[in-house]
Symmetry: C2
Subunit: 199 residues, 2 copies
């Protein structure tokens, strides 16, 4: 490339996941068509996001303050906590508007392959919160990968120390809009065995 | 979203072409897994690129200096100029390593629909360069869209004032790896009429 500045911009953009050099070049050339002020806003937003973002000291969710808006919201049901793998999962569940309890973001799943052990996740904080806040139900909303199932099993074992706390997992089955023909055997098996009465 | 900082980062990222809110969110959450210093490098590279980049005062190509490396390169053939629509086209042609002349970047094509008239393009600069530098051949390497053909026609008319300058366009035909079955009629018609002898 002719320009070191362009080369650097393309190099940095192509470090982003799913963005190759071709796309990075297209994005960089697009930025040239925008006002300098607009590009600075983009750059500032990214830098400030990374530098200033905090994690809620109760639930480990992303937050601008020490306590996130969900934990600070007095109208939410403080007797239920929904345990999720990552920040994006909180947004997905919030978007459904079907849940009004608290969350707990683990920050990953147990993965020996990637060197992530239980101590790398916010599991102790979860147990502390349950004890401190009088939680009555823990919903484990963790993905059904091998790592996810391992994490689920590990946490449910640790939760046995609270015999009065109900532990649930999100429902497994055929998704809405999915065809049975294309679902995997495990899912179909689970869906048949755990069939629900229509009436 | 719970965090204004996240909201801003996602908002700015989703202004980029081909990046929707879902992808923007994925990119933003990815940035959280990187070091602060790395994210700052990305932000700086984008801002510096947009703020400090120049256009070569001869050929209008992107450049870190007033004259781009291609125009400044004494080993290039200064009797030929290849006229292209945009900066990316220079890179595409350079990548082939089949061309050793100069370039001229128009900065777009004539498009009444988008309000781009000939005076918005660097056509006068091209004519000046041809006169000043003793150009012997002008290669018009412009895309075959309606706007491209209009621009090609317009420039070739303006070039009639230089009767000694040869004007060519890049070869049209069936691309390598393309199947004739899937080529459009215009291309096939052109390829048949302008067939080349094998020997």
């Amino acid at each position: 490339m002719n320009s070191r500045l362009l080369e650097q911009a393309v190099g940095e953009l192509s470090k982003l996941p799913g963005i190759g050099r071709r796309t990075a070049l297209r994005l960089a050339l697009h930025l040239l068509t925008r006002e300098k002020e607009e590009v600075r806003q983009l750059a500032d937003a990214l830098d400030r996001f990374r530098t200033d973002i905090k994690h809620c000291s109760y639930c480990n969710n992303l937050s601008d303050k020490d306590i996130c808006p969900i934990c600070a919201d007095a109208s939410r049901d403080r007797s239920v906590v929904c345990v999720v793998e990552q920040v994006g999962d909180v947004m997905s569940i919030e978007n459904t508007r079907q849940y009004n309890g608290l969350y707990h973001v683990l920050g990953g799943v147990i993965s020996p392959m990637q060197g992530i052990s239980p101590s790398d996740l916010k599991i102790d904080l979860l147990l502390e919160n349950i004890q401190r806040q009088g939680i009555k139900e823990v919903i484990l909303a963790i993905g059904t990968t091998v790592e996810g199932e391992t994490t689920l099993f590990y946490i449910s074992r640790r939760l046995q120390q609270f015999p009065d706390v109900k532990v649930t997992t999100i429902a497994r089955g055929i998704g809405f809009g999915d065809e049975i023909e294309y679902a995997d055997e495990l899912t179909i098996a689970h869906a048949i065995v755990n069939r629900t009465a229509l009436k």
